[in-house]
């Protein structure tokens, strides 16, 4: 009877299940590395995962310090993800037409369970513009735009513009008075585009005899609005840009941006 006392303690059913699971071929086909118990396997975790490989394998201690990074890049990314998710849900109810756009927005608040979804999208969008600016400010103040990171700074500037364009296109979609006139005022700037805007410098030079090549119905503003004023064409174009075109572009650039952080030597150190 004495020998029963020296048997090793039995592993619990959860541990047993885990041990079995991580030995299955299905698991091993997905995670093709051993458990991250050594430096080598921990690196392999990062390198063999398409999402994680965008991220540096190692980061400096200062790189996770809140007082150094403010976490503004991470917060911007988090907000983008939550905006994508809430935006996707809003698309199930919103129809970008003159007839329905406004009432659908009201309906999202009044008739749809968790009417807060639209508010999350709206406030998240405001917050993202703020965090993106602060991220840019932080990168500037820590000198992280300097070589070898100049290219990533440029990518970031393009993403800043895309963020503002996402904000601008989303602004029209509620189709209330504020939206229509704000976009009217905003898109009027495109009239003054050099050569491509019908009131811009140089546009008058582009003409065939008496016929102007650049006029109100074929200039840069028209391409934006799909019409000569903010109407149904503008609503549809802004909707498509807001929900598909711009998010796609910014997602690709984000992948480049994160990957370049790693390639350019990780988050810059404190000055």
């Amino acid at each position: 009877m004495a020998e029963t006392k020296i048997v090793a303690p039995k592993e619990g059913p959860l541990v047993q299940f885990w041990n079995w699971l991580t030995e299955t071929q299905a698991w091993k086909s997905i995670f093709r590395h051993d458990r991250p118990t050594s430096d080598r396997t921990r690196v392999l975790v990062m390198l063999s995962n398409v999402f994680l490989h965008l991220h540096p394998v190692r980061i400096r201690k200062s790189g996770v310090k809140l007082r150094y990074t403010w976490c503004m890049g991470g917060l911007s990314f988090f907000l983008f993800l939550s905006l994508t998710l809430t935006g996707l849900l809003l698309m199930f109810y919103y129809r970008p037409t003159l007839e329905y756009a406004y009432t659908d927005i009201v309906g999202l608040r009044e008739h749809v369970p968790f009417g807060i979804m639209r508010e999350m999208h709206r406030w998240g969008a405001h917050a993202m513009v703020i965090t993106v600016w602060l991220h840019m400010f932080r990168v500037f103040m820590t000198g992280s735009y300097k070589p070898p990171r100049e290219f990533n700074w440029s990518v970031g500037v393009v993403m800043l513009v895309l963020t503002l364009l996402l904000s601008f296109t989303g602004y029209l979609l509620p189709w209330d008075q504020l939206a229509i006139w704000a976009i009217t005022v905003g898109s009027n700037m495109a009239r003054a585009t050099p050569f491509l805007g019908h009131e811009g410098p140089g546009a008058g030079l582009l003409r065939l005899g008496d016929v102007p090549l650049i006029h109100a119905a074929d200039d840069a503003r028209f391409a934006l609005l799909g019409g000569t004023f903010v109407g149904e064409g503008a609503l549809l174009r802004f909707y498509v840009l807001h929900c598909v075109g711009l998010p796609l572009a910014i997602a690709v650039l984000m992948a480049v941006h994160f990957w370049r952080v790693r390639k350019d030597g990780g988050i810059s150190g404190p000055l």
């Binding site: 006139w181 009217t184 005022v185 009027n188 119905a217 391409a223 019409g227 000569t228 004023f229």
Partner: protein, 203 residues
């Protein structure tokens, strides 16, 4: 590069796609031996031709995509329209065409420019940033809700940020005696264009 091309075929021309495009015909004209198995095009020329074609096709597709954004038909109100006979209007600012066509037809006893009685059509676009002002009958002025620009019924700006007067559209009599408004021709006061005979319809 040239020596390789010269060895493989007699018609090789290292000049690129453009120069080579004409070569096969030349080769046929010169006649090839029945057992000549050398290629009509060098590999380099063929790849140049392929890339050239691909680039041209891509450029054409890009241009077509750009053109796609500009439809041939617009569902927008016409720029030129008849608004009825002069006798249908009393003096003052008439708002009935504001929503449909975006103009105010104003009937005055004495115009600020011509000093005669008649009609002019003011375009309902604020000259500040393009909003639509409201006509405030009690104060007899146009007031823009966006940033507070104010205009007299003549169209002259007198308050707020608007830098210049409202624009007038062309007004003439149509063949049937009706007033014809043509928004495609605009007259700006600050350019002296309000003196144009078509900027004001004397009645």
């Amino acid at each position: 590069m040239p020596d390789l091309a010269g060895k493989t075929t007699s018609i090789a021309s290292p000049g690129g796609a453009a120069a080579v495009a004409a070569s096969p015909a030349k080769a046929v004209a010169m006649g090839r031996d029945a057992d000549d198995s050398s290629p009509l095009l060098t590999r380099r020329a063929w790849i140049g031709l392929a890339w050239g074609t691909f680039s041209a096709a891509s450029a054409a597709a890009l241009a077509a995509t750009g053109r796609f954004m500009f439809p041939n038909v617009l569902n927008e109100p016409p720029q030129q329209f008849k608004v009825g006979l002069p006798t249908e209007y009393g003096f003052g600012v008439d708002e009935r065409w504001k929503d449909v066509y975006g103009i105010w037809l104003v009937h005055v006893a004495e115009d600020v420019v011509t000093r005669t009685s008649g009609f002019y059509a003011l375009i309902t676009v604020c000259t500040h940033l393009g909003c639509t002002p409201n006509f405030l009958a009690a104060e007899n002025k146009f007031k823009c809700p966006c940033h507070g620009s104010g205009f007299r019924t003549s169209g002259i700006n007198f308050e707020g940020p608007a830098p210049r007067p409202l624009e007038r559209a062309r007004v003439v009599r149509a063949d049937d005696g009706q007033i014809l408004v043509d928004k495609s021709r605009k007259f700006q006061q600050e350019l002296g264009q309000w003196a144009d005979p078509e900027a004001f319809l004397q009645v």
